[in-house]
Symmetry: C2
Subunit: 344 residues, 2 copies
């Protein structure tokens, strides 16, 4: 990373280092990237590109430690497939194949494992991406939490698409695929530690069909995409503002938040913009392609709520702003701390 | 898998399910493959093959949960890189790129993490394979054991090589790269639970240079390769005997076992053939290429101890036999149970 000189000086690892917000960035940019990726990495994205004898591949991996293992609308097995499919899609790549590992805690009921293996198989089938290999490890009781899943995926990068924060320009439009916060609040409520109930389900789903539709009609105008998981939409757009050295100005009214998510956030003192999603994404599209891109998303089943939520401006540099319906603006910061640990 | 109808009926997951032996096979073939890979998998190998628009890629992933994190000759970070490089090499593929995830336990000292990140970076540099991406999760204290690492890798499959148990024929020669059991016994002793000491280090190293040398001189004769990690040489060769429907007849005297490994095994009642390795591999080579293959391995630094250790015969079908110096033979079974948990 050319843009930063981050030093990681924290003495111990804390939950916040895994939350996707500021502490995560400090760990990644201050410790992991300088050693592991100093020569290879130009930009932190959901998937990396690898040249394989003339074919441009997208390559990605994620570990899943969500708690509880099952929640309304999904489970760890389902998000372990969809999340990796979506990271490839966010790289403009049609998913080709996945490999997966299980870290199992001794004592786990075989029926729980079977349930998650079935969930993975169904999700892979729905996404149309085969699982071609894997690995299983078992650790002693008390050295994991049921099971952790890691899924790596490769995809073929569409040659029509060139995604990079460096390509984002003032005037580009910010498009969001649907309502935010469903996944994070669903998982939080599923823990049962709060005396709250809501008719809400995780939004986990494969995003490739939406991206494929976008590419068909708007490839030349597609600048940057991200599925805002940990840290939420606010964190994803702050990273964009920083990497692209632009302002992201949001029309806060246009960002859909279901009443149940908004209500839970109000009670808990959380901002929906910081809540994790699993099945939504944000795309930056040049102005001349914005309308056709939104139309294309709306035509894909499940994309009916796609809309423009803001635009890129030159100033204030590296800042995300939200304009309210009353004309006021507020600065939207990255997530700090970890209000919702182990959300994916 | 066409060859088996395994049913997984164990009620709970136990450490033995992760040991690489019979219980692992039951879990994999009875539960994981039938759901996840029923359409894609023809043979369980270290790496899977994926067609990427005309390029034959090898794709692999492994999780690493070794305990302790550091041991003589290596550490979790080093084996997390070498192990994945080696799985690609065993698929006859030159490693192209890796991605990696860390599951960190809250409370882990940052200095411990830094040490392992440095170990990963050094191992990747030594192997000549870039790390291009990753993911980090943090779980609560007591929900992991320091850190777990998962590494996925892709490689370009050498078009001259066609590796499959189906290609193995009676008369083919069994070639082993060096002494066995170093890694498993080193890790076991590093735990300090036994009142044993030995001047022994893990054999972890990248195997691609050896495979590259083999391919150069013996590609048409190269039938099958495996790095015998969990479950040891005995388990790897039993899988071969079963998949290829042949007998593997070993000359037990030719299999090198260091005195420290043999001594520890005798005290503990273990068979060196069941002990995990990280930096050795076994290759099945057609008889006309066997000598040139061994010569090529010996010329690669660290390959001086490569030698022929046996041959493939038609009968007794699906069995591994070892001949002793006194002319007796014994049946070598797969690993049963888990004498050495969390060895990689």
């Amino acid at each position: 990373m050319k843009t930063t000189k981050v030093h990681f000086t924290d003495p111990h690892i804390e939950l916040a280092h895994g939350a996707g917000g500021k502490a995560s960035r400090r760990l990644i940019e201050g410790l992991l990237v300088p050693y592991l990726m100093k020569d290879t990495l130009t930009e932190l994205n959901d998937a990396a590109y690898v040249d394989a004898d003339g074919r441009r591949l997208a390559f990605t991996v994620d570990s899943y430690v969500v708690k509880p293992l099952v929640f309304p609308g999904g489970s760890i097995g389902e998000i372990a497939i969809n999340g990796t499919v979506n990271d490839l899609a966010m790289g403009g790549a049609k998913p080709l194949a996945m490999v997966t590992t299980l870290i199992l805690e001794a004592g786990l009921a075989a029926s729980e494992l079977e349930r998650e293996v079935v969930a993975m198989a169904k999700a892979a089938q729905r996404a149309g991406v085969p699982v071609v290999g894997g690995d299983t490890k078992v650790v002693e009781h008390g050295k994991a939490d049921g099971l952790y899943i890691t899924t790596a995926g490769i995809g073929l990068s569409d040659p029509r698409v060139h995604l990079s924060a460096q390509n984002v320009r003032p005037g580009d439009q910010v498009i969001l695929s649907g309502p935010i916060g469903d996944h994070g609040i669903t998982v939080l409520l599923a823990r049962g530690e709060l005396d709250l109930e809501a008719d809400l389900t995780s939004d986990t789903r494969p995003l490739w069909p939406f991206v494929a539709a976008l590419i068909e009609v708007a490839a030349p105008g597609l600048r940057w995409m991200r599925d805002p998981t940990r840290g939420g939409l606010a964190t994803a757009l702050n990273e964009l503002a920083r990497d692209a050295r632009v302002a992201v100005v949001l029309d806060e009214e246009a960002i859909q938040v279901r009443p149940a998510v908004r209500g839970a956030c109000e009670i808990l003192g959380l901002d929906p913009l910081h809540i994790a999603n699993e099945g939504q994404f944000v795309a930056i599209v040049s102005p001349e392609y914005a309308e056709i891109a939104i139309d294309a998303l709306k035509r894909v089943p499940g994309g009916e709520e796609a809309r423009r939520i803001g635009e890129i401006q030159k100033e204030p540099n590296r800042v995300v702003l939200a304009r309210s319906r009353y004309g006021g603006t507020r600065v939207i910061d990255m997530l700090v701390g970890d209000p919702l640990p182990r959300i994916c």
